[in-house]
Each structure stands twice: as C-alpha cells, then as structure tokens.
C-alpha cells in the first residue's frame, strides 16, 4: 500500500545552519506516528515542513501520493493543532471552526454538518457560542482539534498539543486523542517531548536528535531494543542504568564486576571491545527474586522515592549509583543492604565509541 506521507531526502538549512539532514520517512495510511525528542532536535521543524509552513531546502514531500512540495499548507490536505492552541481569540468557537471553511467556499449546509459532527465527537456542543477566553485549557485544545477535524482531511498534525496543560488534563486528553484516532482512523503525526505520550499513543515513534531520526520503530522496539545509547537513555524514567566497561569472551567486565552476557541477542553478531552495559531499573529484581537472576549484586540504599504503585530506590554499588524499581509495598530504609539481580538478556549493550547497539 502506498504510504500516506512520504518524505524523501529532505534537507532544511537556514543559511549555513543545517537543521534537517537528508531525512527520509514513510508514514502508512492510518498510522499514528510520534516524533519524539528533546527541544531543538528538529521534530517541530519537520512537522512544519510537512505542513508546508517552512520552505524546505531540498527533497520532496508526498501526501496521499501527491507531490505537495510546492503546495500551500491549505492545499496539502492536512489539519494542524498547535501547542498554544492558536485559536482566533476574537471569534466564537463556532467562528473558529468555520472560518477556514467559509473562506474556502464550502456550502453552508455542509459546514453546519461538519461542525455538528466535530462538536459531537469532541463534546464541545455547549461551547459553540463562547469565545476562547471563556474556555479552560482543555476545552481550548478540543476546539483546536475540532478546527482540524472540520477540514475533513486525511492527515492530522499535532505540535505538542498537550504541553500547556496540567498533568491530569494531559492524561485525559491523551486518552481522547487515542480514541479519536481509533474513531477516525486517519494518519496522525504527533510531536512531543513527553515519552509517556509517545509510548501510549504511537503506532511508531521516531526519535530525533540534531535533525536526524535516530530510531524509528514501535514503542516496544524503542523500549526494549533502543538502537543507541541516546535513545536508551531518553526513554524510560528513571533512566536506564549504565555500566562503563569492556566486553570480551568472558562477558562484561566493569572494574570490580564481571558477569556473562549469555542470552543477549546481539544485533549484528557478538563484538568485543569497550562498551556500555545498560539495564532498566524495572528489569532489576530485589530480595528473593534477585537470587534467581544470572547476575547478582549488593548495594546500600541511598535514596528512596515512594510513588505508591512503585518505590524507586537508588543504590550505591561500589562507586556506582543504580536505580531500582521495587514493589510499592516494600519500604526500604536508607542504609539498608539490598540484594539485586538481573538477566543480561533484557539488557542493552552499546559500543563505547559509536554508542550504537551491539
């Protein structure tokens, strides 16, 4: 099947500063793609290029099989939702929804139908006659989504739509967006710096850094098999624990520790040399369970963060600090000796120099 959006060899530079470099990306019909990265990685820039809000330097963009590289944003068949909502403050909600349509000369009856549908889907019917200033943040963002919805397009672009909301609203609206995607089944590209949003919403995640896509994959792939150290560190909270050491026949050696890496699925065959060994806090077991794991260590509790569902504990192991996610019921005290263990098969190992996954 032809991809819904195809980005081909896209380059973008402002003068001498190159922002996006020879970027390729295909997004399938009905796919929910999340562009994830820290600020300045080029994710919003890429989205703006797709929307046609930025003139690209080289390359091509196809939407729905059509070469839209030189098309105006409004002619690309997209709808867009912004972080700051970008509602027209002097117009009512209805005005916001209909302004673009009226301008495009859509017949009145059809406008009314589309508005009614969007309002129903988003449950904003009672708000239609209000002005944005009289709405809460969540309501405003619903209206902003509605404005994209009434355009009746195949592709939705979201530019950090939930970043301005508080945690509770963010979680609620996230669910709604997910449901919306399930209902509409159209292509969505969603930019965020929030990994929870990325993990929960995405069919695939593209992790970006410095204008490049570091890894493109399903949330599970990204989580379990991060392609490089940056991705591994970026995803997961608390971050993956790393051991700085050396990989050889005997396994992984880091100063005072040595263990085998049996069961580890090497990406391109086993390689030896300096390496990072990474293991996520939630893959480290404690107490009796730790005994069952191939690698066992012992450390002193240094910091305890009870979250209710889980308890995060920072252990001092030698001169290293290792985060461990424990069951919410366990309540270690600072200074307690804790036994930990993990299975190298669940770990990620990266080349020391290239930081690529081994």
């Amino acid at each position: 099947m032809e991809p819904s959006i195809s980005i081909r060899n896209l380059d973008l530079s402002f003068g001498a500063v190159s922002v996006l470099k020879d970027l390729n990306l295909d997004i399938g019909q009905g796919e929910f793609l999340v562009l994830l990265g820290s600020s300045g990685c080029g994710k919003s820039t890429l989205l703006n290029c797709i929307a046609g809000l930025l003139d690209i330097t080289d390359g091509q963009i196809f939407i729905g099989g059509r070469n839209v590289t030189w098309e105006e944003p409004s002619k690309r068949g997209i709808g867009m939702v912004f972080q700051s909502y970008a509602l027209y403050p002097q117009m009512t909600v209805e005005g916001n929804l209909t302004f673009g349509l009226k301008n495009a000369g859509v017949p009145k009856t059809e406008i009314a139908q589309r508005v009614a549908r969007a309002a129903k889907i988003l449950q904003i019917e009672p708000l239609l006659n209000r002005k944005p200033a009289a709405l809460s943040g969540g309501q405003r963002q619903r209206v902003a989504i509605g404005r994209a919805l009434v355009r009746d397009v195949d592709v939705f672009l979201f530019d950090e739509p939930l970043s301005n909301l508080d945690a509770k609203l963010r979680a609620d609206l996230r669910v709604e967006i997910k449901q919306l995607h399930q209902t509409l089944d159209n292509t969505m590209i969603y930019v965020t710096h929030d990994q929870i949003e990325a993990m929960t919403l995405a069919d695939r995640i593209a992790i970006m850094r410095g204008g490049l896509i570091l890894q493109l994959g399903t949330p599970d792939e990204i989580y379990t098999r991060p392609a490089n150290k940056y991705v591994a560190e970026f995803i997961g909270s608390p971050s993956m624990n790393f051991f700085d050491g050396h990989l050889d026949e005997s396994g992984f050696t880091a100063k005072d520790i040595n263990f085998t890496v049996d069961g580890y699925d090497f990406a391109n065959g086993r390689k030896h040399g300096p390496a990072w060994f990474g293991i996520r806090p939630e893959h480290i077991l404690t107490g009796a369970e730790a005994e069952t794991r191939p690698v066992r260590l012992s450390g002193t509790a240094d910091l305890v963060e009870p979250l209710g569902s889980d308890t995060l504990v920072r252990l001092r192991v030698g001169d290293r600090l290792i985060w461990v996610r424990m069951d919410g019921r366990s309540k270690p005290a600072i200074g307690d000796q804790i036994q930990i263990g993990f299975n190298p098969a669940r770990a990620s190992i990266f080349d020391k120099d290239s930081e690529e996954r081994l």
């Binding site: 060899n9 380059d11 390729n24 080289d58 091509q60 030189w70 493109l216």
Partner: protein, 305 residues
C-alpha cells in the same frame, strides 16, 4: 513498514523538489519593496531638501530648483547658523543655545525618568489605596493642552520662587513628562513576574531594595525608550523654554525660532536650513544609534495594555 532510514536508495522522482522557486521580482516583492521605497522617498524628501539647500549659496537658491543638488558646495551657511546668525544684537548663532539645551536636557531627563520610574514601580508593585485615582488624573493630564496649564504654572512657580530659574524649567519638564512615562513604566513593571518580586520580599528586601537591586537592572529596554522619548521631547520643546527661562538660558529651539524668524532683508534659506538641521541633530543621532533598542523597548513597555 520497512525501516526506510537505512535505505538511502534514490527516492526522488521527477516533479517539484526543494524550495519553491520564487523570482526575485515576484509581484509580491515588487509590491512590498515598491511601496516601502516610495514611502521612504516621501519621508526622505524633506531631509534631502534641507541638506541640499543648506549647502547652496543664496544666488543658487534664488535661481530655483529646491531639489537640484548644489552646483557649488559651501559650508558657510552652517558656520553662520552655528556661530554668526543674529537675533537682535546677539550674533553668536545657535552655539549658545546648544549648551543651554544640554544644561536643560540632561538634568530634566534624569529627574523625570527617576521620578516616573518610581511612580510606575509603586503603581505596579506596591498598590495603595487611591493610587489608581491619582494615576487616572495623571493620564488625563497627558491630554491637557500645555497652553491651558501655562498660566497656573506661572503662578505656582512664582509662589515657589522658582520662576525663571533653570530648576523651575526642569520641574516643568518633569511634570509634563510624567503621564506618559509613568504609564510606560507601570506597564513594564507589571509584566515582571510576580514570583520574582515575592521572592525578593521573602529575602527581606524592602521597597527601595527591590527597586534598585531587582527592578532597575532588568529594565534596560524601557529606560532606553524613556530616555529617547524624553531627550527628544525636551530637546525639541519650544513653549516651556521660551516662557519659563530668561534669554541667557534660551534653549536651542528658541534660538532656532529667533534666527529663522529674524528676517533681516532677504530670508537666508540656506542658513535657516542649516540651523534647522543643527537643532535636530542631537535627537536624530540618538535615533540613528538606538532605533533598534527603541522598537524592542516599545514592544516591552507600550504594547501591553
């Protein structure tokens, strides 16, 4: 859904690619730059005429075209305007007025900004009962024609024994600069995050401490705007300068008026133009230097209602 980032095979096909081609002479550009250039010419025309005329001799001016560049450039009009032009018996041109203007402008600008910034600060951060009433009166005061206030101020200054003194004039400039400046500062200080202000209070800083150690250092843009407005306004003032000072303290604008209107025989347009340019030079230089800061400062202070 193959992972395509690892597949650098050429994917570009024929058709639109890269930057949308735009011609340098597109209709849009012609419209934008055309309009800007035409308007710029309209704005520059008077300056051009002033400069050109000030460099011509009188015979050449009489022959006619005010737009023609000078055939023979002479700086005599400038010399005359600066040092020789007469008002009555005094023939020392604008030079005397220049130093008077400096003496009037510097303390007036300083005092008016100091007071207005304190007012704005008190209004924005230390509201007290009735403050807004005073402020509203002050703002309405900005609309009162100066002529209306001329006489009451003569009486006030007389009662204070300040009439005719430089101090009196400085006070007058401070009073009439106050409304707009206070508005600017109040708006600017209102936009300073309240947390900052609260943090300082928790740290034990008082009214003056916060003003000097927190507000002042972070308010450079608005001070620049205030300074530009005041220097221009006070330097260009004619009415107060002529009414509230003695001849030995006359500012440059008053002398400009005297020179331009002291028609001795034929109007010496070249000298008049040179005198006009000389008088406008100080504010013009300030604008040329700090134009960018001005816009930035206005964005910070004036625009937030």
């Amino acid at each position: 859904m193959a992972d395509v980032t690892t597949n650098p095979a050429p994917r570009i096909i024929d058709g639109p690619r890269g930057r949308k081609p735009t011609r340098a002479l597109s209709g849009r550009n012609i419209m934008i730059y055309g309009t800007l250039i035409v308007v710029a010419l309209y704005y520059l025309l008077p300056l051009y005429v002033m400069v050109v005329t000030s460099l011509k001799g009188m015979p050449e001016i009489r022959m006619g075209n005010i737009f023609a560049p000078p055939v023979e450039i002479t700086f005599q009009p400038w010399v005359k305007a600066w040092a020789e032009a007469c008002t009555g018996l005094n023939c020392d041109g604008l030079s005397r007025g220049f130093w008077n203007s400096v003496q009037i402008t510097v303390p007036s600008v300083f005092l008016s900004i100091a007071i207005a910034s304190l007012n704005g600060y008190a209004l924005a951060n230390w509201r007290f009962k009735g403050a807004n009433i005073f402020f509203t009166i002050l703002i309405i005061g900005a609309f009162i024609p100066y002529q209306v206030m001329l006489y009451p101020i003569v009486i006030l200054l007389r009662e204070a024994g300040l009439y005719g003194s430089l101090t009196g004039l400085i006070i007058v400039h401070t009073i009439f600069g106050m409304p707009i400046l206070t508005l600017l500062f109040r708006n600017y200080f209102s936009s300073v995050p309240e947390e900052l202000f609260k943090a300082a209070r928790v740290d034990g800083a008082g009214f003056w401490g916060i003003y000097f150690r927190i507000m002042l250092p972070m308010s450079l843009p608005i001070f620049v705007v205030a300074m530009i407005l005041q220097v221009t306004g006070i330097w260009n003032d004619f009415l107060f300068g002529v009414v509230y000072t003695r001849p030995e303290n006359y500012p440059m604008t008053v002398q400009l008026n005297n020179i331009v209107n002291s028609v001795q025989g034929v109007k010496e347009y070249n000298v008049n133009m040179a005198a006009t340019l000389l008088t406008g030079l100080v504010p013009l230089i300030i604008y040329f230097i700090s134009g960018k800061l001005f816009v930035r400062g206005i964005a910070a202070g004036a625009v937030k209602g």
